[in-house]
């Protein structure tokens, strides 16, 4: 690599500039493809925005209008009237932060061990951990509920957070990341007398930053949108997370859909902002991290 760079450096700057120009030209195609794709991807979401500003009759109408006759900004105000939005928002934030931190801690540690340490029963244990992704999630509901009830944690933050602290998916994700890393750094650190924890903490963990950010994003989203568990273990509206609160707006016979849409957009917004910030800092900023 270094040789190649050296070769590139001085004498061929002209070539490089030419290559850059060529690249710039073909960006048109890239923009066409990406733009068309983005439109398809964003369309349902944009429509959700439109519906959140419509009347219920307009949403229920079979000939959809692409823009409401009179934008109903009141639908957004209605969300705050019908839900203890801020309390639920706070609960969501607390639950999500706790879970993301726990998952990063537990999953990176376990993922590292599964990828780069040898111990008896490793394949069995890994298979057991992975197997929990392979059964319908409803299988866990009753048992988990009974455990949490026995611990006296119903209606508590602990009960809301608990089973979600442990993620098989996250472990698998981190294991994959650690599997792909070069052996040399690890070996060098070991020869310097670092113990396995120090190797993990000082050498490998920084290398895994891009994947840890992926884990952070996915666990945030999962926790933020989780529905059934918080609905089942919580009683008081003020102590529910937002995802559960939103769901209570949907009724069996008469639902005010625009308010549901507005509420779901309000709930989605913070995650979207988080993503924008994260992708600036993490995905775009990766090149300068300890990766190379």
């Amino acid at each position: 690599m270094v040789e190649q760079l050296d070769r590139v450096a001085a004498p061929t700057r002209r070539d490089l500039a030419k290559a850059q120009r060529r690249r710039g030209g073909s960006h048109v195609v890239a923009h066409l493809v990406l733009g068309a794709g983005a439109l398809v991807m964003a369309f349902p979401f944009l429509w959700q925005v439109v519906m959140s500003l419509s009347t219920n009759a307009e949403v229920q109408s079979v000939t959809p209008s692409f823009w409401p006759a009179h934008p109903q900004w009141g639908n957004y105000a209605a969300v705050f009237e019908r839900l203890p939005f801020l309390e639920q928002f706070r609960t969501s934030v607390v639950i999500t932060v706790v879970r993301v931190l726990a998952q990063i801690l537990f999953c990176t540690a376990a993922g590292y061990a599964f990828a780069r340490m040898r111990f008896r029963g490793r394949p069995v244990l890994l298979a057991a951990v992975l197997s929990i992704l392979m059964v319908p999630s409803q299988v866990y509901l009753l048992s988990q509920y009974q455990i949490v009830a026995d611990l006296g944690l119903l209606d508590s933050l602990g009960g809301l957070v608990l089973p979600g602290l442990f993620s098989a998916f996250g472990t698998f994700l981190m294991r994959t990341a650690f599997l792909g890393m070069p052996d040399e750094l690890e070996e060098a650190a070991r020869l310097d007398g670092a113990n396995p924890f120090q190797v993990f903490w000082r050498v490998m963990l920084p290398l895994a930053r891009p994947t840890i950010s992926v884990l952070a994003i996915t666990s945030t989203l999962w926790s933020w949108n989780e529905l059934l568990w918080p609905l089942v273990v919580s009683t008081y509206a003020e102590r529910m997370p937002l995802s559960a609160g939103l769901a209570t707006l949907i009724s069996d016979r008469t639902t005010d859909y625009p308010v549901v849409m507005a509420a779901s957009l309000l709930a989605t917004a913070p995650v979207l902002v988080l993503f924008v910030v994260l992708q600036r800092r993490v995905i775009d900023g990766l090149a300068s991290s300890g990766l190379k």
Binding site: P64, L105, Q144, P210
Partner: protein
């Protein structure tokens, strides 16, 4: 469980035995927090389910041992196989998100591409959107009489079907939504993976005169192999869990429903509609075995593909 493990580890060759000793108790310290939580909150319920699958289970508890009767019942039911085929069809279509995401990710990763961050946010939107809202919007798009999709198809002279109430079409429609909503996740994983590819590789290749598509084939695709095979495994596992989306998009009184069930929907019907928890537990075990096999096969293939 601790009793079962030594038996499996007993036959190891000495060379590996040395490495076991070198890491000592460390691996256990690393995996213990996760494993304990997983054992209590996930493996224990699975174990209970395995037991329930051999019993007749009252709606609110109370079990009677009935042996393999539940398994005989579901394995003799044609609907189970139809559900399996539907699930496989869904999974196959959603898997297409990986090649699409590889192409998009490599485009997004073009050096000097403007608006890349903006595109990324747009592609990420479906992944953050609330599932209930998403299902509602797609139902409207797929509407046979008034939907945007059939209106657009009509412009090019195609008469679209009633997407969500025609067997097969319903699975395709739901799979499109599945593909749409998983693309964002694949893109993030691949973007993280692409960061592992040094840009100098491309620059060198370019100076060597390699075409864009040649670079894509000989640099991007191989170097993304770990990420793509991870995505493949995850997509298959998730594909087999198809339920929420199907339930939300198709609704509960859809005439196409009996022919559009997925495996987990079959499980759900047994457990939460027919209130036959024993049969549901047996179905869950069958699903576990099927996904376990599929994953094992993938691991085998992957070892070849990632190394080769």
């Amino acid at each position: 469980m601790s009793e079962a493990l030594p038996a499996r580890g007993a036959g190891r060759e000495p060379a590996r035995g040395r490495r076991v000793r070198r890491d000592g108790a460390w691996p256990w310290l690393f995996v213990a927090p996760l494993t304990l939580g997983v054992a209590v909150f996930y493996l224990w319920p699975i174990a209970q389910t395995a037991w329930y699958s051999l019993t007749t289970f009252g709606v609110f508890g109370g079990t009677t041992f009935t042996g393999l009767g539940n398994y005989a019942e579901i394995l003799g039911d044609p609907t189970l196989y139809r559900s399996l085929v539907n699930t496989l069809l869904y999974t196959a279509i959603v898997l297409l998100n990986i090649p699409i995401a590889v192409c998009l990710a490599s485009l997004l990763n073009l050096p000097g591409l403007r608006f890349a961050a903006f595109y990324r946010v747009l592609y990420f939107l479906p992944y953050v959107a609330m599932p209930t809202a998403v299902a509602m919007v797609w139902r409207i798009i797929f509407n046979g009489d008034f939907g945007v999709l059939n209106w657009a198809l009509g412009l090019v002279g195609i008469e679209g079907p009633y997407w969500i109430s025609t067997p097969w079409a319903s699975i395709v429609a739901v799979a499109v939504v599945g593909l749409w909503s998983s693309l964002g996740f694949s893109l993030i994983v691949l973007s993280a993976g692409l960061k592992n590819v040094p840009p100098e590789l491309y620059e060198a290749a370019q100076l060597d005169g390699a075409s864009r598509s040649r670079q894509f084939r000989s640099i991007t695709v191989p170097l993304l192999a770990p990420s793509t095979s991870f995505l493949a495994v995850v997509t298959v596992i998730a594909g087999f869990q198809l339920f929420d989306l199907l339930y939300a998009v198709l609704g509960t009184t859809n005439p196409a429903l009996p022919k559009s069930l997925s495996l987990v929907y079959y499980f759900y019907r047994a457990g939460f509609v027919d209130n036959d928890k024993g049969v549901a537990a047996a179905t869950a075990m069958v699903i576990l075995v099927l996904v376990g096999l599929a994953t094992a096969v993938q691991f085998r293939l992957q070892r070849r593909w990632v190394r080769g």
